[in-house]
C-alpha cells in the first residue's frame, strides 16, 4: 500500500492505496468523483481525461501514486465558481455537442486544454486535437461546433450543415 496525497479540484485529499490503483480508480472509487469515466482500458477513448498540474492526461494511464503532490482538476471542477456552467460546458449544451454524455467529461477536459494552447482553433485543428477522444453517439459535428462556440468564433460561418 502507498500513501498518496494530492489536491483535487482545490481540495487536499489523502488516502492509502494499492500500488496498482489508477488515478481514475482513485478519483472514482476513493473520492467518489464519478464524472471521470472509463471506456477502454488502453488509453484510446479519452473518457478519463483530467488535468494534472494544468496538463491534460489520461487518468486511466497514470497510477494514483504518480499523481502524489500534484494538482488535479476533474470534470467536477470545471464549472464556474458560482456553480454555473463554464463557457465550454455551456457551448456543449447550446450546440448539442453530446448525446449519452459518457465521453463528454473527456471532451470538455480536452477542449479546455486545447483552448488554453490555441484560443482560436480552426475546424481542422479541433478535429486533430480530439484524436484521442472517441464519441460513439454524435457525428462529432456538434462537438466541433461546441468547441468553436466556446472559443467565441462564428460557428455557422465555419461549419457546413
Amino acid at each position: 500500500m502507498t500513501q498518496v496525497s494530492m489536491t483535487v479540484n482545490g481540495e487536499a485529499v489523502s488516502a492509502e492505496v494499492e500500488g496498482r490503483t489508477l488515478l481514475s480508480d482513485f478519483l472514482r472509487g476513493n473520492l467518489r468523483l464519478t464524472g471521470t469515466h472509463i471506456g477502454c482500458d488502453t488509453s484510446q477513448c479519452g473518457a478519463c481525461l483530467v488535468h494534472v498540474d494544468g496538463e491534460v492526461v489520461k487518468s486511466c494511464t497514470m497510477f494514483a501514486a504518480e499523481a502524489a503532490g500534484t494538482e488535479v482538476t476533474t470534470i467536477e471542477g470545471m464549472a464556474n465558481p458560482d456553480g454555473s456552467l463554464s463557457a465550454i460546458q455551456q457551448a456543449f449544451q447550446d450546440q448539442h455537442g453530446l448525446q449519452c454524455g459518457f465521453c463528454t467529461p473527456g471532451m470538455v477536459m480536452a477542449t479546455a486544454s486545447l483552448l488554453k494552447e490555441n484560443p482560436k482553433p480552426s475546424v481542422a485543428e479541433i478535429r486533430d486535437y480530439l484524436e484521442g477522444n472517441i464519441c460513439r453517439c454524435t457525428g462529432y459535428h456538434n462537438i466541433i461546433k461546441a468547441v468553436l462556440a466556446a472559443s467565441g468564433q462564428d460557428v455557422d460561418a465555419m461549419v457546413a450543415g
Binding site: Q44, C100, N142
Partner: protein
C-alpha cells in the same frame, strides 16, 4: 409544414424547435448516473473466466487456489447455476422453422465461442476477482471450431449443437414475379456481384454494466443496468430466476450509448442477477473493453451473391440475391438472430418499382460471438445490395446514377402501396428527397469537380443511396411471435401542486434526447413552460408499461403516447377549471402555466388550481371527482412498421497508391415525418452516418480460422474519430405518418443503414476509371489495393 402542432407563434410551442436538452447540464458537470457510479452497502464485484477457445469441452475446474485469495467471496461455475437459472432459447414463432439450442448464462458442458463465460468469481473488488481468475485451472478439451458459415453448411461439417442436427438455424425465401424471364428478356443488361459484409459491433463507450441487489426478506430483485428495455428484462429475470414479475425492478438511469447492443440477454448479466439472489448481497458487474468486444453482440457478417437486370432505358427488370449470414453458436434470446436476415429480405429494393424479386437468406450457426440486432438491423446490407447493383448497372449502360434513380423510385403520390417483398408502405417521399439531396450537395458541381480532379490524377467519387428505414414497429415485429417485448408504450402526465408537470414514459433515454423531446411534447400540448416539466424514464417501478427505446420507436411511439396523455390531462384540467371559474371548458385555454380565456388573459394559475384540488377539496362541488393525472398508451395499428425514407450521398477521394479513402463530404436528406427537435434529430442522423462510415471503411471484428478474435481492443478495432469524419449536412422532407397525431417517425438508424451503400458507391465511382471495383466492407486499404490489382 403547417398545422396546429407547429404553430410556432403560440406560447409553449416547442414541437419543431431546437430546444437544448435539460439533461445536458448534468452530464456536462460530471453528474451522470451511470451504473458503475453506483455503490451499495455490502456490494461485491464479479469477474468472469471466459473460454479461451472458440469450441471446447468443459471438463471441470480446479478452484482451490482462487478460493484461497483473500477477499474472494464465492466462485460459481456454469453447473452451479443449473436449477437456479432456467435455460433460454432464442426462437420466435413467426419466424417459422427457426431453431436454436437452450442456453445457460455460463457454459456447462461445451463452450461455443471465445469469450463465453465459464466461471464467475465474486470478490470484495474487481481487482481481487481478477487476481483469483488468474489462479483457476480450467480443464478444457479444444474441439474443432466451425467459423466459416459456408463451410458450416457443408455435409459432414462438425455440428455446433448435436441436438439440432444441422448448423442451419433458419432459411427464408421470397419469390415475386418471374425473375428468370425478366433476366432473360431482350435488352436487359445484368450485373452480378459478390458482396461481403464484415462483422462489426456497437462499441458503446459505456460498456455493459449491471448491479443486482436481492432482498431475501421480500424476494425482490432490483437490477440497475445500462440498457434499453427495462420491462423486457423484468420478464426475463422473473421467468428465468423463478421470481414474480412484480418483484423485479429494472432501472436504467443514464445509458452510455446502446445502439441495439444493450437490448439482449447476456449470460454475465443473468449470472450477476442469479448470484445476487443466491448470496442476498448486491453484486456489480462492469464489462471491461476486452469483454465487450468478445461478448457484446456483433452485427452483419453476410456473404451475398446478387444480380440486377436493367433495361436499356434504365428500368430495373429484376433483382435477385442469395444471402448467408453467420450468427454465432446460438440465436440470441429473446429477439433471435434471424431478424436481420428477415429484414434483408424485406427491405432490399424497397425504395424502387421492382416487379421481379427473388431472394434467399440462410442463417447459420458458427463458433464466433453471437450476432444479433444492432443499429439499422439488416438495412446496410439491403441498401448496399440494391443500390450498389443499381449504380454498377447504370455505369454499365452509361446512365447517370441520379437519373437511374429517377426512373425507378416509387412515385411520391403512389402511396399507400406495397414493396416487392410485400411491405406495406405509406407517406414516403423518395422523389422529393432525391431532388433535395442533389440540390444541397450541388451534384452537378461535384461531378464537374470530379472530372477536373481526374485530369490531375486525383480519384474522387460520388455515391448515392435511396433508402427506407423501419421505424415505429407494431406487434408484428416481435410480440406476434411470442417475445416478451411490448410494442406499445405508455406515458403519464401529472399536474403537481406547485403547478409543474411530472411526466413519465416507458421509452428510455440513451442519449438521443428522449427525455428532452418528451418534455417538449408534454409542455407544448399541455401549455406550460418546458422548464416546469420533469421527466422520469427507465424504471419499471414508476413508469407505465412499455417496450423501451429501440427500432427507432422512442419519438414515434413514446412521443405519441405522451402527446395523447398531455392532451387528456389538459382536457381534465380544463374541466376542473371550468367548474371553478363557472364557465365552459371550451371557453378556456392553458397557456404558459395558467388557465386563460381564449384571448389569453389569465384566469387562474395551474398552481392555484392544483392546490385547490389537492388541499381544499371542500371548495369543489361534492360530485366533482377531479383527476390531475392522465395516462395514455399508444401502439401502431394497421401497419406492421412505419417506414421512413431518405436519400444520402458521399463524396470520397481514394489515394490509389495507399488505398486510403478520405470522406470529403456527406449529405443526408431524411424524411422522418414530423421533426420534433431539429437540433437533436440532425445529430442523431449524423451519429448514424458516422457509424455507417465506420462499418463501410473501418470497423471489423477480425477472427482467425480458429475463432480467435484478433483485434479486441480500441487500439486495434477502429471506430471513426473526429479527424477523419467530414462535416455532415442534414436536411429534411417532412411527410408525417398517418398512423399518429404527432406524425413522427423514427430517425436514429437511417444514417447507419444508408451511409455504407453511399460510401461503397462513391469508392467504386472513384475506382471505375482504373477498372477496379470493391464489394466488401469494410473497404480497407488492402482490399482497395487488391481491387485495383496493385497488390
Amino acid at each position: 409544414m403547417s398545422g396546429p402542432l407547429t404553430d410556432l407563434d403560440r406560447p409553449n410551442s416547442y414541437i419543431g424547435r431546437a430546444v437544448p436538452r435539460a439533461d445536458a447540464a448534468r452530464l456536462l458537470e460530471g453528474r451522470g448516473r451511470f451504473v458503475d457510479d453506483l455503490q451499495l452497502p455490502r456490494m461485491l464485484h464479479a469477474a468472469f473466466l471466459r473460454s479461451p477457445y472458440a469450441h471446447a469441452r468443459v471438463n471441470g475446474f480446479d478452484l482451490e487456489a482462487a478460493r484461497a485469495v483473500p477477499g474472494v467471496h464465492t466462485i460459481l461455475t456454469g453447473k452451479d447455476l443449473e436449477g437456479v437459472v432456467e435455460p433460454y432459447v432464442g426462437v420466435l414463432s413467426h419466424l417459422a422453422g427457426l431453431q436454436s439450442a437452450p442456453q445457460m448464462p455460463m457454459a456447462v458442458d461445451v463452450a461455443r465461442w471465445q469469450g463465453e463465460p465459464l466461471v464467475m468469481v465474486i470478490a470484495e473488488s474487481r481487482a481481487i476477482a481478477e487476481d483469483a481468475l488468474g489462479l483457476i485451472e480450467a480443464d478444457l478439451d479444444p474441439l474443432d471450431p466451425v467459423t466459416d458459415p459456408e463451410a458450416a453448411l457443408e455435409p459432414g461439417a462438425a455440428l455446433i449443437h448435436d441436438s439440432l442436427g444441422s448448423n442451419l438455424a433458419w432459411e427464408r425465401t421470397v419469390d415475386v414475379g418471374d425473375v428468370d424471364a425478366a433476366f432473360a428478356a431482350d435488352g436487359v443488361t445484368t450485373v452480378e456481384r459478390s458482396f461481403t459484409f464484415g462483422r462489426h459491433t456497437g462499441v458503446t463507450l459505456e460498456t455493459r454494466a449491471a448491479v443486482a441487489a436481492f432482498d431475501p426478506s421480500t424476494d425482490q430483485l432490483t437490477f440497475w443496468y445500462s440498457g434499453q428495455a427495462p420491462h423486457m428484462m423484468q420478464f426475463i429475470f422473473a421467468k428465468h430466476l423463478g421470481l414474480m414479475e412484480e418483484d423485479v425492478r429494472v432501472i436504467a438511469h443514464d445509458v452510455g450509448g446502446s445502439f441495439g447492443i444493450k437490448i439482449h440477454t447476456y449470460g454475465d448479466e443473468v449470472a450477476t442477477a442469479a448470484a445476487a439472489k443466491l448470496l442476498g448481497r448486491p453484486i456489480k458487474f462492469v464489462a471491461d473493453r476486452l469483454e465487450s468486444f468478445q461478448t457484446d453482440i456483433h452485427a452483419r457478417d453476410h456473404i451475398v451473391k446478387g444480380r440486377m437486370g436493367l433495361t436499356a432505358d434504365g428500368k430495373i427488370a429484376a433483382l435477385e440475391f442469395d444471402d448467408i449470414t453467420g450468427i454465432g453458436p446460438f440465436s440470441m434470446y429473446p429477439r433471435t438472430s434471424a431478424i436481420e436476415a428477415n429484414q434483408v429480405l424485406n427491405l432490399t429494393g424497397a425504395p424502387y418499382e421492382i416487379e421481379n424479386y427473388r431472394a434467399r437468406s440462410r442463417v447459420v450457426f458458427q463458433n464466433k460471438n453471437l450476432m444479433c440486432q444492432y443499429r439499422a438491423v439488416g438495412h446496410p446490407i439491403a441498401m448496399a445490395i440494391c443500390d450498389c447493383l443499381l449504380e454498377d448497372a447504370a455505369r454499365e449502360i452509361g446512365m447517370d446514377v441520379a437519373e437511374v434513380r429517377r426512373r425507378n423510385l416509387m412515385a411520391d403520390d403512389s402511396y399507400p402501396r406495397q414493396s416487392a417483398s410485400g411491405m406495406k408502405l405509406a407517406d414516403l417521399s423518395h422523389q422529393q428527397s432525391l431532388e433535395k439531396l442533389l440540390e444541397i450537395m450541388d451534384y452537378n458541381g461535384l461531378r464537374a469537380d470530379q472530372a477536373q480532379a481526374r485530369k490531375s490524377g486525383v480519384y474522387r467519387g460520388i455515391g448515392l443511396v435511396s433508402m427506407v428505414e423501419v421505424t415505429n414497429p407494431s406487434p408484428a415485429f416481435y410480440g406476434i411471435g411470442g417475445a416478451p417485448i411490448a410494442s406499445q408504450d405508455g406515458a403519464t402526465v401529472r399536474l403537481d401542486a406547485g403547478g409543474g408537470l411530472r411526466i413519465s414514459s416507458s421509452v428510455t433515454e440513451q442519449g438521443q434526447g428522449t427525455n428532452g423531446i418528451l418534455a417538449q411534447i408534454a409542455a407544448d400540448r399541455f401549455g406550460i413552460p418546458i422548464d416546469r416539466v420533469r421527466v422520469t424514464t427507465g424504471d419499471t417501478d414508476t413508469v407505465p408499461y412499455g417496450g423501451g427505446t429501440w427500432a427507432s420507436r422512442g419519438a414515434g411511439i413514446g412521443g405519441e403516447a405522451m402527446l395523447q396523455a398531455a392532451v387528456a390531462l389538459r382536457d381534465q384540467v380544463l374541466d376542473v377549471a371550468a367548474v371553478m371559474l363557472q364557465t365552459e371548458p371550451s371557453k378556456l385555454d392553458i397557456r404558459d402555466g395558467a388557465v386563460t380565456d381564449l384571448d389569453g388573459s389569465e384566469r387562474m394559475t395551474l398552481s392555484d388550481l392544483a392546490r385547490t384540488v389537492y388541499y381544499r377539496g371542500n371548495e369543489l362541488p361534492s360530485d366533482m371527482k377531479p383527476e390531475l393525472v392522465a395516462t395514455r398508451h399508444y401502439r401502431v395499428t394497421d401497419f406492421p412498421f412505419v417506414f421512413t425514407n431518405g436519400a444520402m450521398a458521399a463524396q470520397v477521394e481514394v489515394d490509389v497508391e495507399t488505398g486510403m479513402v478520405k470522406v470529403l463530404g456527406f449529405w443526408a436528406v431524411e424524411d422522418c415525418g414530423r421533426v420534433i427537435n431539429p437540433m437533436l434529430v440532425d445529430e442523431q442522423v449524423r451519429g448514424g452516418v458516422v457509424q455507417g462510415i465506420g462499418g463501410a471503411l473501418y470497423e471489423e471484428c477480425l477472427y482467425d480460422e480458429e475463432g480467435q478474435l484478433l483485434n479486441a481492443s480500441m487500439a486495434d478495432y477502429e471506430v471513426p474519430m473526429a479527424a477523419e469524419m467530414p462535416d455532415i449536412v442534414v436536411a429534411h422532407v417532412e411527410t408525417p405518418t398517418r398512423t399518429s397525431e404527432l406524425g413522427a417517425k423514427g430517425a436514429g438508424e437511417a444514417g447507419t443503414g444508408g451511409a455504407p451503400a453511399a460510401l461503397m458507391n462513391a469508392v467504386n465511382d472513384a475506382l471505375s476509371p482504373l477498372g477496379g471495383r470493391i464489394h466488401q466492407m469494410p473497404m480497407t486499404p488492402e482490399r482497395i489495393l487488391k481491387a485495383l490489382g496493385t497488390v
